[in-house]
Assembly symmetry: C2
Homo-oligomer: 453 residues x 2
Amino acid sequence: MPEEMELNPNQHKRLQELNQALDSGMFVHVRRMLHQMPPCDVALLLESSPPAGRKVLWQLTDPEQHGEILEELNEDVMEGVLQLMAPETLAAATEGMDTDDIAYVLRSLPDSVYQEVLEQMDGQDRHRVEAALAYPEDTAGSIMNTDTITLRADVSIDVVLRYLRLRGELPEATDALYVVDEDDLLLGDIPLSTLLTVSPNVNVREVMDGNAETIHVSMDENDVAALFERHDWISAPVVDEQGKLLGRITIDDVVDIIRENAEHSMMGMAGMDDDEDTFAPVVKSTQRRTFWLAVNLCAALVAASISNMFESTLEQLATLAILMTIVPSMGGIAGNQTLALVIRGLAVGHIGEGNSRWLIGKEAAIGMLNGIIWATVIALVVTLWKGDWTLGVIIAGAMFINMSLAGLAGVTIPLLMKKFKIDPALAGGMALTTVTDVMGLFSFLGMATLVLA
Amino acid sequence: MPEEMELNPNQHKRLQELNQALDSGMFVHVRRMLHQMPPCDVALLLESSPPAGRKVLWQLTDPEQHGEILEELNEDVMEGVLQLMAPETLAAATEGMDTDDIAYVLRSLPDSVYQEVLEQMDGQDRHRVEAALAYPEDTAGSIMNTDTITLRADVSIDVVLRYLRLRGELPEATDALYVVDEDDLLLGDIPLSTLLTVSPNVNVREVMDGNAETIHVSMDENDVAALFERHDWISAPVVDEQGKLLGRITIDDVVDIIRENAEHSMMGMAGMDDDEDTFAPVVKSTQRRTFWLAVNLCAALVAASISNMFESTLEQLATLAILMTIVPSMGGIAGNQTLALVIRGLAVGHIGEGNSRWLIGKEAAIGMLNGIIWATVIALVVTLWKGDWTLGVIIAGAMFINMSLAGLAGVTIPLLMKKFKIDPALAGGMALTTVTDVMGLFSFLGMATLVLA
């Protein structure tokens, strides 16, 4: 059982120290501390601060680091910080950032500000960023960098080595150079480790990997992440229809996608947006959560209207009211177990047309087996508790029906949603619970009405 | 809203083709197809197959690839496959695998088999694997590789380059070489990109990064993952107390941890084990899910015993029974929203002692605001539906109390669990729902009894 990550003790202490220094107005001290921290740690501190402290902290950070801090922030927090920056300061901050990171930051600005920032950037940067922004969000194009180093196939490794020494530093996370022809068509790649281990006298063509896998610029970013994860890549080249090299995607951006996706499933199942800032202001958070609560109120009212159909039965026997929440509750849990399994299976790519029928059969069988087990248990409990075996039989019947249905619904609901392009992580749980609540109440109260009437 | 990943169309087709070929007994054809696929794709196919097909498929895979396929499989599926292998075949399969991957595979074997496999391995490999197995699971030591390339500080880059050419291939995912003294104390590192860009005449000492951050061998793997994610590392050196270099951790293992953690939160909240194989046999799956259903039955019986306290009130007015599920349901959803936010916040390290009080205040405020909103809405709905404003006032009061409590419970329950080292992702949801169910029923039926008595 993995434990959760946490701020390590040092960061904790630093956060408390900073907060104390802020509270006592020791801004010079705070500024010095912030300037000495790496940008990623400053970003974590900002994300871990309530909104008021966040504003003050940002004013005290090193303007030189603004770009690097921004790209590390999550979307919600970044939006808040961007509102504190003038367009020309922002344009200055983007200098030296990777193209895809600038695009990520600019995408969250209102249109007017965004144009202003673009105008403040220097010509070449603006051109690159505009190109990046032209690719749809969530595609390979939107997360690629254009800072590739390209080689020609007919030069010798020795020439390459001399060129690299002349050039100095390589772009971050470079693990391979790309070989292209005069039309920029990708011919292959050479890992840095190959450059270091082959003889300097051979030609690039002889040692390059000509079968290097490429990523099409319009590929969905989730498919990109799946490829990286499966192949343990560190970076991969991005090409267009013709096979022209457009840029490269690096593992750090892919890690962000993997985390976001996983958070999306987890937060989505609880009816939350995965962008939500942990320390967002009260009113904003309340607004965001309203939709889901409204949907749930409707679902709860639907369930109540089911019991309403059986009002006269409930009048006859109040014990039914006491027992009627048990069957829906068990169905909801069993269904949610199946649902979580299927959502994960869809997310990691295990479930497709070839095996979904098998999966439906399996989960239906588990549902029925669960139904038999829990019907027996609840029959015993209720018979002993209420001293009435008729009630025991009724609740057992309802339990069997609802648990069997829950297994089936837990797998068919997400598969159907997927087919109709509805996100099962977001809407699956609510749909499922409504089904198991309605069916649980209906079968229990319905059978009770038939038997006791 | 990110879409889920899926088997891409090619893989889908391949899976169907394979299944058809298997069904019609064309084993030679299947074998040929499997042998031509990269190990990671074979692993995905195995994971996407029901157990019966999985057995047949494994027999047809290329024994040369067995090691690489095994390390890509998830734990549950791997255990199934290991049962099909004799110890000596398994020992042969581990040849050439990374130490940490061999340790991962061996950890899931029963003790007797595990000893037998170790005995079948050649001396040096066995020694390395035993060393890896000596580190506790889930620490940096258990995920590190020992295949580092080390340099001395006083040699020239030219000598290093000649050594590397002589050596040939570098270990996978090598992005830096490590500089150590005669006692193996880590002095610094040199990224491959530095080796390629500096003058060959300088000494290692002059160009190495002497402030390279290191990972202590007993650090929790989740802290390791957080560091990698924050610093965009590709690999990092692992050291002992004295600062001796023991090995290195690479990003591919970290990506696995990040995904596992995120899946753990998501599956855990639904009462599922994150190791669960999507295509596990029915009986095994049912067993695994029983515990959580049993816990839930207890929780549901607790809730039923609350309504039982108000049996005479329920006898007087069946409408109460119809309405009594609404308040617990809304409290459960609101509480779960907060819970998901806090679990995510703990997982990414945003929440610590410095800010948890602020967070409790914020979520309590959201709970009260939610309470006011939904109390008003439900008062109107119930008054209109049942034509009785007294009922409307009663349910509104209960809604306010329960929603306020839900916000508070959603943040305090996971923080308390964390303090007592209980995993909030696993147990938080059930604890929370029990609280909101009990409080919802108690406040609604309690107030109804007071008012209507």
